[in-house]
């Protein structure tokens, strides 16, 4: 018997028991749809985390100032200005495992252009900062080392700031006022989206740190910096860079063997990798739970096929009497099971894809339906059909034709 006739025979008997076939398929439909939705949600979460990691920049360390003891009071990290421009320069120049270092400073304030004003984050940094964060300038240029040296009043606008102050106008070359001082906009930054903490990374104005120290912050903190951002030469040497930075700073700050560090080093990639692995575990868990329902669907197919084989004992006997071989009977029932599973799988994929789209629209989650997941789900349905259909089909094919013909 060829595959076409076998398929036709199988379709006919499935159609003869419509309600039963549909209910059996429902098990597969729910299982496959659940897997597709869960994998789509998990994949979406993964993709968002990966995008966030890329938006932060790779192989980064943050050196945070703080924790000085003054008069018995110990302030927390970031509480005291213990890091200096010289520290940043030393980290960038002296350490073999460090590719670049940029001192940074943050404050906030209103930025005014014409009759528009927008209160935003002011980010002071070295020219290397953009490259370290893998942040492109979409219009204009980055500020230069000379401009940093000279504390020039130049700035770069984040997309959000550019949108609010300039709308469709090109900001490059225009003068904006930051805390009442006029600054020339030299460039506009590429869009970065949300940070892992959910902040709008484009709501920012980047300017030379020296300018920020001298022109915007007053003289109290001249020479001191906020956070020093450090980039290791490659991902394998981030740990090494961390050690070298700690060692260098302890030396420079003259902290003895038993002394407490007046700074701390955070490994950004490590934190993000942790977030990534936890979403991965979650999506595996979701997929795993959904797979259980697929298993249940498979057992449903097996159950119905066993009933069907028993019901059709006489038919099996007749087919054997007129010359069906074992494999003819086996393939007939196996094909029925696979058709049930595949039809259920296909409907489940459509339903799951629809469910994923609905989830992303209603819950606002990113969902990603990867072709691999669809192919896998379809293949898995076929496998479920073969696996759970095999036992009933084999039972049918091994029947004794005499017994089968006598069956009432």
């Amino acid at each position: 018997m060829n595959l076409y006739s076998a398929g036709k025979v199988a379709f006919r008997s499935l159609r003869a028991n419509k309600m039963r076939s549909i209910l059996t398929m429902l098990g597969m439909i729910i299982g496959v749809a659940a897997v597709i939705i869960m994998v789509a949600i998990g994949e979406g979460a993964n993709q968002r985390i990966s995008a966030q990691i890329a938006s932060v920049g790779s192989n980064l360390l943050l050196v945070l100032p703080g924790s000085t003891t003054s008069g018995g009071l110990r302030s927390g990290f970031g509480g005291a200005p213990t890091l200096t421009m010289a520290d940043a320069r030393a980290i960038g120049k002296e350490l073999s495992s460090v590719r670049a270092a940029s001192p940074t400073m943050r404050s906030s304030g209103p930025v005014v252009y014409g009759n528009q004003n927008w209160s935003t984050i002011l980010q002071g940094a070295a020219p290397e900062f953009l490259e370290m964060r893998e942040w492109n300038v979409v219009s204009g240029r980055n500020f230069t080392a000379q401009e940093t040296e000279a504390a020039s009043k130049v700035c770069l606008l984040g997309q959000t700031v550019s949108d609010y102050l300039f709308g469709t106008e090109d900001p490059v070359g225009k003068i904006v006022r930051i805390k009442r001082s006029p600054f020339t906009v030299v460039g506009v930054l590429d869009r970065k989206g949300q940070s892992p903490q959910g902040q709008d990374q484009d709501d920012v104005v980047v300017l030379p740190i020296t300018t920020m120290q001298k022109k915007l912050s007053g003289s109290a903190r001249a020479g001191s910096v906020g956070v020093i951002m450090v980039q290791a030469v490659d991902s394998d040497r981030v740990k090494e860079a961390e050690g070298q930075v700690v060692e260098l700073l302890r030396q420079r700050h003259r902290i003895g063997a038993g002394g407490t560090d007046d700074f701390s080093v955070r490994n950004l990639s490590e934190m993000l990798a942790l977030a990534e692995s936890s979403t991965r575990i979650m999506s595996l868990l979701l997929g795993g739970i959904a797979s259980v329902s697929l298993l249940v669907g498979g057992i449903g197919i097996m159950n119905i096929m066993l009933v069907s084989v028993t019901e059709r004992t006489r038919e099996i006997g007749i087919r054997m009497a007129v010359g069906a071989r074992e494999r003819d009977i086996l393939s007939q029932f196996l094909i029925e099971a696979v058709i049930l599973a595949l039809t259920g799988g296909a409907v489940g994929i459509l339903l799951g894809a629809g469910g994923a789209v609905l989830t992303s629209q209603l819950a606002g989650w990113t969902t990603v339906i990867s072709p691999a997941a669809v192919v896998l789900a379809f293949g898995f349905s076929a496998a479920v059909g073969v696996f759970f259909g095999f036992y009933p089909a084999r039972k049918a094919s091994r029947m004794d034709p005499i017994e089968a013909l006598r069956y009432e």
């Binding site: 018997m1 060829n2 006739s5 025979v9 006919r12 008997s13 003869a16 006489r314 038919e315 006997g317 007749i318 087919r319 054997m320 009497a321 007129v322 010359g323 069906a324 071989r325 074992e326 494999r327 003819d328 034709p401 005499i402 013909l405």
Partner: protein, 243 residues
Amino acid sequence: MGVAAIEATGLVKTYRLGDVLVEALKGVDLSIRAGEFLAVMGPSGSGKSTLMNILGCLDRPTSGTYRLDGNEVGDLSRDGRAILRRSRIGFVFQGFNLLSRLSASENVELPMIYDGTPASARRERAEGALSSVGLADRAHHLPSQLSGGQQQRVAIARAIVNTPALILADEPTGNLDSVTSEEIMGIFQRLNDERGITLVLVTHEPDIARFAKRVIRFLDGRMVEDRPVADRHLPSTPRETAG
């Protein structure tokens, strides 16, 4: 075709029913020539059904040899016997045994589905077989839309569609009234006369056995009688008169 179509010697069949061994056939020698029309008689439990199962290659004897058309059946695997059944043997049962979801012509096509006959040839041959049993106009009816006699004629069409050497009919008239029974037996006689198909017929009724040419009788697993039919019931319509 004067050669032996069936050559069985020393057929023994034992079953195990729980702890008891049941000897259904106790050494049967049987030779049937091609073109014969044989009626097998005997009470229930005499071993005639067991013999039919063995002759039909549905079962294997516990000991003894069985040659069908020169093929030693005892050596064949399950699949080998299945292939032999669909190419050389036609079955007609008391309960018709048609597939209720298939139309008459699809039921007749069934043996050809398994030997890979192309669909168009299948349909043509099925229609030919149906018209030779007088059911050409019922080809697309479901079994439930046919009378018992018509259903049995569909079964006969299915049995002859692969031009078998042997047709085994197990009480084919058991569920039919006497008029229909005679019609069915007439068809068997015609197939035997016109096509030279060897026929083995199991029956309880002496009247039905009279359509055959030779009668054997079973009792307790042994063949106790083997004689030609003296007062043979000859075909009634002139066209079908045996020559």
